[in-house]
Point group: C3
Chain length 419, copies 3
């Protein structure tokens, strides 16, 4: 197996220079958090080329149901058609550009532009534009569509004409994600954060648990993330063995796939793998990622018990998920500018679960609300530091920041391989 | 008569390219709403070259009366001198640049700079600067003046050293505007809007009534704008004939000049005509542009009755007016930046009309307040749409958007003909 | 003595052109208040090259005491070490750049990064970084330090590797400043202003009292600043003689050094002197710069009486001070951007003075709060004026604006002599 990163050099000399300026094993130089030309290049090579998580199929169960999503200056309408298929359209009238809808979600028989009443079907075709001259070719005036894929109830879209193949991601994610039942889930809560940090700093934070011990007192109790291999005491090895025994499961899709301490390796920069799914162990006393480790909602999807541990999903550049047997929490990133990132954290439960009767927000939210907000605070603090003219990238820990390093390698490869 | 647009190509290759990128009969490409270099070029070729509406002579009836006006980073003092003449000065001391006044309007014996008390006459000459050395040539330190013209009580100014001739505009506007009596009017109300849209989108909206039927339920009842020629039913032709009969008037200046449905053509891009005045019909039951069609104030100017219909004035790039026999409503634009335009809507009545006794704001304002705000909402919605990377200009309606197309041709000609 | 300015021409053609565009004896052209490239050049040649006032040694009397200071995107920690020495460090962890502290001031045993607990001594060395690989060379991972000097209780720092010599400034400032006792003072009050004006406009305002008569009714009563030489009436010469007699003092450091009306000349552009200290006369009835001229706090430092007049200190580009026998008021500038300057005004009294018992803010603050705020208002008004496209620099008064002219010559020399 080839472990050397595929070598690529960008045709853009400025980008080539920036990429070359990063010293192996070190954090990124200051320009990576400040350069507007780089930011524009990232937009093209990563955000508008790759697959972006957009939402959940359970948000729009019926034909005509839609939700909207803003990505940079674009707004998209994610709409279920008469044929039950979900499509993504630019929310822009093909006459003079008016926004078709300003609603965050809703249900429509047709999309009617409020300016001059041009009317589009739920499949995006123009079928009515009274007041226009004879002979107009309506077939060329349908809504602009972007690529869309669904996978186990998750919706992904890409602005690229020829995006990377989605199939390998589906094969990797779907088997593990299907039992979670995203297709028949409901959104119990969703919180929007405007984090004053470059999007990469949020991933860098996500890709190491070196910072967890002091900063995440709640989170570290539920799992073995901070115990990196080779550092495991006898006591910890026993705890791991007990946890593995407790989670034994005949079903492959429910089996714990990351059977040790520390973090599963991700991404695989050398093979350009931007997606991953695994199942990790909960510690003794934890049935779910909640403050007291107890379940906080009815079982989701096809789970029969708590033996599935925690399902972790990740897709670069903008999605991760921690899901327990009873609820799932997803994190969804979108850059707002060089120094601000929109983050949406969403809590999902079984679609039939009723608040007050089956769950309460007081129990459901705190574990990931606390952990997330602790991280956003750290990311903002790093942003302020890397703004400094005196910031120089320091060495990364081989023991604790290997995934961060892998993320940086993956990222630099995206920059370099963009034509 | 030559109906081909005078051909001109800008010496600036970037502008030339942009102008060439517009497809005839289609809306403007995205760059026209986003490009900062174009915006700077517009500033020079249109806003600082042409004649800008600035206000009304009735605002400053006596020597020493002034009002100020901000245009981009400049502030101007429009001041009536001892000789009764109105002049426009830059509100900037010729010593070290201090703003002479921060008031919106007032009355002064002289303009005294608060910093070091340099003092200027009401004609703009420096006559006092105690503390300066002997031998200073005061005659070279008068206030910087810009060109100013008045026409039937309307004040226009130009930053250009050699602006386009104003005389043809005066000849066209003054005869129809004089009877309205702007010289002896008073401002009953004025409302400032910061519309989040490029200034051109506001004109594009103004130049067609294709959008009126659904968006302006109040406005469409009072006039025949939405009934474009060739589409008139027998019933409508009868209504037009009745309205014309009712408005019959021996006085040429009060005669209805647009005697049909739809909009009068404006601008005349092919002859570079940036000004227009006409009189249009009110529908049956309408004596004034008010919600119930009834008069809302005493007769203005030299009107004897309601037979003058609606006086419509327009001057590009920043003024239009709808005036009934009893009140006038003017709209005054100034760009704030690429995506924001300051709009001031002003309601005028006879100078002797007293609120409560002769008119109420409850009756006077709603017709044009509603119609204006409906339009600003649409313009902002188009701006958000044309921000989208997916926006592509669509085809214009030959039947309903011919004036919008004329506006675009006029606009492109201004860009191209600027040296 | 050579009174010609040392001639220098910048290697940067844009700067060279700007410098050449200023007409001798006139205010600066508009571009000096608007050009971003110039602003960046100023940052390098003046703000990051020279010595910046940072604060007072009395703020951090004990080892481990610190305060922070923001300069552009940098934050600095000014920290007293175990060896009692004061140092300035960039507030940036050498691992991944996190801000070490977000506090304005405090006291620490060591500087511990909250992200991964890298720990630095109070002298800035890295001594703990658990989780990192063996063999890391900690000696190369200490905090980034900047140059720092203290002088009579005032702290100055420079970002330059080779800043201008500080010794001449110390020799000039220390003898006159020592008696004021900044080392054993306390900050009674401090007020932060965000002045919407370019930093140069604030110095230009500071360097002339041509504007004082009308704008500073309180200030002008306490001193002879507005009475420029050659303009002194018999009556004023008598008042000066009386004031000099009243201030007679055997101690050289307490002697009035500016023994006439008007302003002492500063800066000395021709010899590139950026620092000055002098003592000026108070008028009859004034013992201190207070509204009623009475003392407002106990004597500071080694003063025995009020005969020392007013100690005035100035260092370009960011500090001046007016100190009476009983209190000192310092003004501290830092540019925020082209059109905004952060100004901090600080009132100091003897460290043992207790509020309510020994002084009240009601008596201490108004004199300089009023005078300062009058000036900020003027500066903002000039900024708005020089924004105008019509602003042209006017002639300076040889009689009243000679120090302003000297400031401009000093400033232009800094721009030109920067390599």
């Amino acid at each position: 197996m080839d472990t050397h990163p595929p070598t690529q050099t960008s045709a853009n000399p400025h980008i080539r220079q920036l990429v070359a300026s990063r010293q192996e094993g070190y954090a990124l130089p200051r320009a990576f958090y400040h350069d507007l030309a780089l930011y524009a290049h990232e937009s093209q090579s990563i955000w508008r080329n790759g697959w972006l998580f957009a939402g959940f199929t359970c948000q729009i169960p019926h034909p005509g149901d839609f939700f909207t999503l803003n990505v940079e200056d674009d707004t998209l309408i994610i709409l279920r058609g008469d044929d039950e298929q979900i499509r993504a359209f630019h929310n822009v009238c093909t006459h003079r550009g008016t926004l078709l809808t300003t609603e965050a979600h809703g249900s429509v028989r047709a999309l009617v532009c409020p300016y001059h009443q041009w009317t589009f079907t739920r499949q995006g075709e123009l079928f009515h534009c009274s007041g226009m001259q004879e002979g107009l070719d309506k077939s060329r005036l349908g809504l602009h569509q972007v690529q869309l894929e669904t996978c186990a109830g998750l919706i992904f879209l890409s602005f690229a004409h020829q995006p990377p193949a989605f199939e390998p991601a589906r094969q990797s994610l779907a088997p593990l994600a299907m039992p979670q039942g995203f297709e028949r889930a409901k959104i119990a809560w969703s919180k929007r954060y405007e984090v004053k940090a470059n999007w990469k700093l949020i991933w860098e934070n996500n890709r190491e648990c070196y910072h967890c011990n002091v900063n995440h007192p709640q989170y570290i109790k539920s799992n073995f993330d901070i115990y990196e291999d080779g550092q495991l005491s006898q006591r910890l090895q026993e705890r791991l063995a007990v946890a593995l025994e407790r989670s034994k499961n005949e079903d492959d899709e429910l089996a714990i796939s990351h059977r040790q301490g520390g973090l599963a390796t991700f991404p695989d920069a050398e093979h350009n793998i931007w997606y991953a799914a695994n199942r990790t162990l909960l510690t003794e006393g934890y049935l779910s990622e909640s403050l007291d480790g107890q379940r906080v909602a009815p079982l989701m999807g096809t789970y029969h018990d708590e033996r599935g541990g925690v399902l972790r999903l990740r897709t670069l550049p903008n999605f991760w998920c921690h899901a327990s047997c009873d609820h799932a929490v997803t994190t969804h990133l979108l850059p707002l500018d060089l120094h601000r990132t929109l983050v949406r954290v969403t809590w999902l439960v079984h679609e039939e679960a009723q608040v007050a009767r089956d769950y309460t927000l007081e129990k459901l939210l705190p574990f990931w609300q606390l952990t997330s907000e602790q991280d956003w605070g750290l990311c903002e603090r790093v942003q302020r530091g890397v703004n400094s003219s005196a910031y120089l990238p320091g060495p990364l820990s081989i023991l604790r920041e290997y995934n961060l390093d892998a993320f940086l390698r993956w990222y630099l490869f995206q920059l370099s391989s963009w034509k």
